[in-house]
Symmetry: C2
C-alpha cells in the first residue's frame, strides 16, 4: 500500500482469488477462520486448477498483423474471465466462472488499441478492457451471448510514465501502469500520484479513471477525477485527446464524460495526471468512543473543519473488534495527518481535542505514519487496523473457501441520512442473512471517506453461506442492501464502480434524461456496441 | 461584491451597458477617460433610448395558458437581446443590437419552464435561457434566422432558497437567484455559498452553473462545479433530477454533463449547493516585485504550498499602475487569507515570507479584509485594487462611449506555458491593435486563479477604436488572441463561457469524439433544436 518498493522476486497472481498466490491463507488457517463463523463448512473447498475448467477453442482468430499481441492460452483466458468480487471468487472455486474470453490481447501502444477495436468491430467481437482485474462489481467480464466472441483487452503492457513535468508537478502516464510500478517511476522525481485504493497493488491508472476510483485518503485530494489534467481515449469513432489544462470552463468537461465510463465509451490509453510532493510529515492517533452516534458527530465536525485529515476512518464496534483496534465493544476513530511542507502534530492535536469534545477517549499515544502507508511505528490501533485492511481480501477468500459469505459494499449519503442508513443496512441485511441461512450474520461498518456534506459508509458482511448456492444467496443479500440504499437515496457506489453487479441500483439512481444522453453518446462513439457490453447502458 | 446588504432603494438596470444606470460615468468623466487614450473620440457617443430602436411586433403569440408569464414589451425585449460583452455594448450604443427576442417569459416554477419549452418546440421558437444577462461571450442572444421566433426565458422569477440543511451545510436554491439575493437568504443561517464572480450582483446561480463559473477566490473552493450536490434540469425530453450526494462513483457524473452546457441541453431550474460557514478571520497584504517573472515563480510556489490563499492575484506592471496598486512600474501580488475557524495571520506571514524569498518587497502593512469582500481597512493597495475591480465594467462602458476598444478575456494554461503565453498575448494583440488603429494599445495581465499545475491569466485590452467599425475591429483582435491561445494550448475560456463569441476557439479545443458525443446528447435531449441555438454545438 505504501508504494515504496517494487518486489524483486517474481510472484504468481491467483487466477481464482485476490492478489498473490503465496499470500492466501492455507487450509489450516481457513479452517480456523471458518470455526469462528457458525454454519460454515468443516473443511475448505479445494482450489481448482485452470486445467479442470473445460475451455474451448476461441471462436475467432486475430488477423496476422495483430497476432503477436493476442493469445488464446487457456490459463491466460481463464484469469481474464472475471474480476475479484465475492461472487467471482465463488464461481471460480465452484468451477463455474463467467464466460471465458476467446482471446486476450496485450497492446503495446495506442495504435494497437485502435487496430484491435477496428478488428473487433468488423468481427462481431465484444471488447472488455482489463487493467489489474481487481473489479469487485462485475466490470471486466462478459455476460450473455449477443456477441460472436469476446476479447479481453489487457492494458498492462502499456505501463510507462512517458513524461514528467516537475515545474507543474504532472506526469503523462500510460493507462496500464499498476499502482506500485507507477509510483516507482515517479519516485526519482520526488513526486507521487498519492492515490492508494485498497486494490493499489492490483489495479491500474486506467482502471482508476474508468471507475472514478476513490483513494485511501479520507478528505481532500482523494478522488482520481480531480487529479486529471487531460486524457487520451481510443473509441471506435476516433481518439479523443483533451488538452492539458489546470482548469477550463469551455463547455461540459470532456474528461468528465470518460471518467466513470467503465470501458463502455472508449479505452483510456494515457493521461496527464496532477502529482504531489511526497509527504515528509505524518502523525496519527486513535480515539475511542463508547457511543457510535457521538463518534459520527465528531467525524462530521472534523469534516467541516479546516483540518483536512488524510485519514478519518471511523470503525463501528464490530469493525473495531474484527480488526483488533478495540476490544471493549466501542468504536474507534483512526486519525492521520500528512504534509510535504510542515509538521502536522498541531493539526492532529486539534483534531483529537475536537473528538474529545464529542466524548472521544485518547490515551495520549500518537504515531508518525499518518495512518496511510509506511511502517506502523506508533499507535498500536492504527497499525493493527492497517495490517487487517491489507490482509482483508485474502482473508475473505479464505472464508469463501469455507463456504461463507464474506463481502463488502460501499455507498455515500448526506449527513442527515447517514445514521439511519447505517442502522438500516446493518439491521436489514443481517436479518435477511439470518432468514436465508438460519445462522446469525455480522454486518460491520466503517466510514472510509468523509465530506463536509456527508460520508461514505463501507459495509462488511460475514455470514454462513448456503453451500453450493452461494452466488444466489449473495445476489439476494445484495438486493436487500440495494433496496435500503435506494430508500435512503444513498449512491449505489462511491468508489467501486457500477459494473454489471450494480446495474439495477444504477438504473434507479441516474436521471432518465441523462440515461438518454449517455445512450446517445454510446451510439455515437461505439456504433457497433462492442465496448464492454452490459456496462452502464444497453 | 461582499453580498452582505441588499440595496433598499430601487435602482434601474441599464438596457445597453453594465449594471445600474446610476453607476455609469457621466459625459465629463467619459471625456476625461478618453483623453488618456490617444485616438478616441472628442466627446462620448450618446446613449440611445430603447424607443430609438425599431422593434417590430412579435412573430408569435403565447397560448392563453402561458400568457400571464410572457411579455412583448419592447423595452423588456430590447434589454434581453444581448449580454454585456464589449461588442454587445458597442452594438447597443450604435443602435444595432442583435436580434430582439419576440417575447420574454418569466416562469414562476419548473412546470412553467416545461410548458414553455413544450410550446416553443411546437411553434418553431428558439429558447434562450437568461439569468442576470451578464454574459460576456454572446451566450444570451440569438444569431441567424433559422427559427421562426425567439423567446428569452428569464429565470429571475425563480429566486428563492427553498430549503437549508444546516447539518450538512447545503441549500436547495432556485436557479434565478441573483448573487446578493441568494446570499441574503442564506445569511440568517450563518452560511454562505461564497461564490463571488465579478458579475456577482448581476448574475444568477443558474448562469454560474450553466457556464461553469469561477468565483473570486484564487485557490481552493472557487469553481461552482465543485459546490454542486445535485441539480434539476428541464429538457424537452423530460426533467433530469440527480440525487443529493456528497460523492458518487456511479458512471460518468450526470451533473458534469449539464455543468457548462450553457442552455443548450436544458434549463437548470434548481440545485442543492454545498455551503460554507461565513469567514470570521481575514488577513491581506500586498507584495511588490520589480521582476514579473520572479513574481510568477512566487505565485507558483504559493499555489503548490499548503497555504491555500483566498486571494493570490498577481497584477502585471500595467495592471498595477491602472488600478493604482503600484506606481513604480513594478508588479503587485495581492494576498488574502480567510477562515471561519481560526486566525490566518500565520498563513499570511508565511506566504509573505515565501514571496520575499522570490524577491518580493512588503512594507509590513497588512489588512483585515482578506482581499475578497468587505470594507477595505488595511492595506491601501488591496483596497485600491478592489475598488477598481468592481468599477471596471462601468469604466469600460465609459471608454466604449469614447469609441475605444476596452475589453477583457481570460484563459488558463499549465505553468510551463504561462510566461510565454502572457508575453505572446501582450505583444501580438498590442501589435495587431496598433496596426489596425494606428495608435498604441495597452494589453495588461493579471493572474486571477492559480493552481498547483497552472494559472489563469486575465487580459485587459485598451485601444483606440475604429469609429463606426468597433465590432469588426474587436472581432479581429479577438481572432489574434484566439490564435495565440490555441498555439499555446491555453483554454479558450477559464470562467467566461463559450457562448457564440468563443465558438471558433472551442471547436479547436474540444476533442472531436467528445463533440460527436455532445451532438448526440443534444439531439437526444433537444430533438427540435430549440435550446440556445448556436451555443456549443450546431
Amino acid at each position: 500500500m505504501d508504494g515504496t518498493t517494487p518486489r524483486p522476486a517474481p510472484r504468481t497472481r491467483s487466477w481464482w482469488g485476490w492478489g498473490w498466490t503465496d499470500a492466501h491463507p492455507d487450509d489450516a488457517e481457513c479452517t480456523a477462520m471458518g470455526a469462528l463463523l457458525p454454519g460454515t463448512l468443516a473443511r475448505p473447498l479445494p482450489v481448482p486448477g485452470v486445467r479442470d475448467l473445460r475451455i474451448g477453442a476461441p471462436a475467432v482468430q486475430p488477423p496476422p498483423s495483430l497476432a503477436h499481441l493476442v493469445t488464446a492460452d487457456p490459463a491466460d483466458r481463464a484469469s481474464h474471465a472475471m474480476g475479484k468480487a465475492y461472487r467471482d471468487v465463488v464461481r471460480a472455486l465452484r468451477g463455474r466462472p463467467g464466460r471465458i474470453p476467446d482471446l486476450v490481447a496485450r497492446p503495446a501502444d495506442e495504435q494497437a488499441v485502435a487496430d484491435l477495436l477496428d478488428w473487433a468491430g468488423r468481427n462481431g467481437t465484444a471488447v472488455v478492457p482489463y487493467g489489474g482485474g481487481s473489479s469487485v462489481s462485475g466490470g471486466v467480464e462478459y455476460r450473455g451471448d449477443a456477441h460472436r466472441a469476446v476479447l479481453s483487452l489487457d492494458l498492462t503492457g502499456m505501463r510507462r510514465v512517458l513524461e514528467v513535468d516537475t515545474t507543474g508537478r504532472a506526469a503523462r502516464i500510460q493507462a496500464g501502469a499498476l499502482g506500485p510500478d507507477l509510483e516507482a517511476q515517479l519516485r526519482p522525481h520526488g513526486l507521487t500520484l498519492r492515490h492508494f485504493p485498497q486494490s493499489f497493488e492490483f489495479s491500474t491508472l486506467g482502471g482508476w479513471l474508468a471507475t472514478r476510483a476513490g483513494g485511501h485518503y479520507a478528505t481532500g485530494r482523494t478522488h482520481i477525477d480531480d487529479f486529471v489534467q487531460s486524457m487520451r481515449v481510443v473509441t471506435p469513432a476516433g481518439t479523443s485527446a483533451s488538452w492539458r489544462l489546470p482548469a477550463s470552463g469551455a463547455g461540459p468537461s470532456p474528461d468528465r464524460l470518460f471518467l466513470g465510463s467503465e470501458g463502455a465509451l472508449g479505452v483510456i490509453t494515457e493521461a496527464w495526471m496532477r502529482l504531489q510532493e511526497r509527504p515528509r510529515h505524518k502523525a496519527s492517533a486513535a480515539v475511542a468512543f463508547h457511543d457510535f452516534h457521538a463518534a459520527l458527530g465528531a467525524v462530521r465536525d472534523l469534516a467541516q473543519s479546516d483540518l483536512s485529515p488524510a485519514n478519518c476512518r471511523l470503525l463501528d464496534p464490530g469493525e473495531a473488534a474484527l480488526s483488533g483496534a478495540a476490544r471493549d465493544g466501542g468504536s474507534v476513530l483512526v486519525l492521520g495527518f500528512e504534509s510535504a511542507h510542515e509538521p502536522v502534530d498541531g493539526r492532529l492535536a486539534r483534531a483529537v481535542e475536537l473528538a474529545r469534545s464529542h466524548g472521544g477517549r485518547h490515551d495520549g499515544s500518537t504515531g508518525r505514519d499518518g495512518g496511510a502507508g509506511g511502517t506502523p511505528d506508533g499507535d498500536a490501533a492504527v497499525g493493527a487496523w492497517r495490517a487487517a485492511f491489507l490482509r482483508m481480501p485474502y482473508l475473505r477468500d479464505g472464508l469463501v473457501r469455507m463456504g461463507a459469505v464474506a463481502e463488502t459494499f460501499e455507498t455515500a449519503a448526506t449527513w442527515d441520512r447517514v445514521p439511519g442508513l447505517i442502522e438500516a443496512v446493518r439491521t436489514e441485511v443481517a436479518a435477511a442473512a439470518l432468514k436465508a441461512t438460519g445462522h446469525p450474520a455480522t454486518v460491520n461498518c466503517r466510514l472510509t471517506h468523509v465530506y463536509p456534506d456527508g460520508a461514505a459508509p463501507y459495509f462488511t458482511v460475514l455470514a454462513a453461506g448456503r453451500p453450493g448456492d452461494e452466488v444466489a444467496l449473495w445476489d439476494d443479500l445484495k438486493a436487500v442492501a440495494g433496496e435500503v440504499l435506494h430508500r435512503h437515496r444513498a449512491t449505489i457506489t462511491h468508489h467501486h464502480a457500477v459494473g454489471r453487479d450494480h446495474r439495477p441500483g444504477y438504473d434507479l439512481q441516474r436521471p432518465e434524461p441523462f440515461a438518454l444522453a449517455l445512450r446517445a453518446a454510446k451510439d455515437a462513439l461505439d456504433p457497433r456496441g462492442i465496448l464492454n457490453p452490459g456496462v452502464l447502458v444497453d
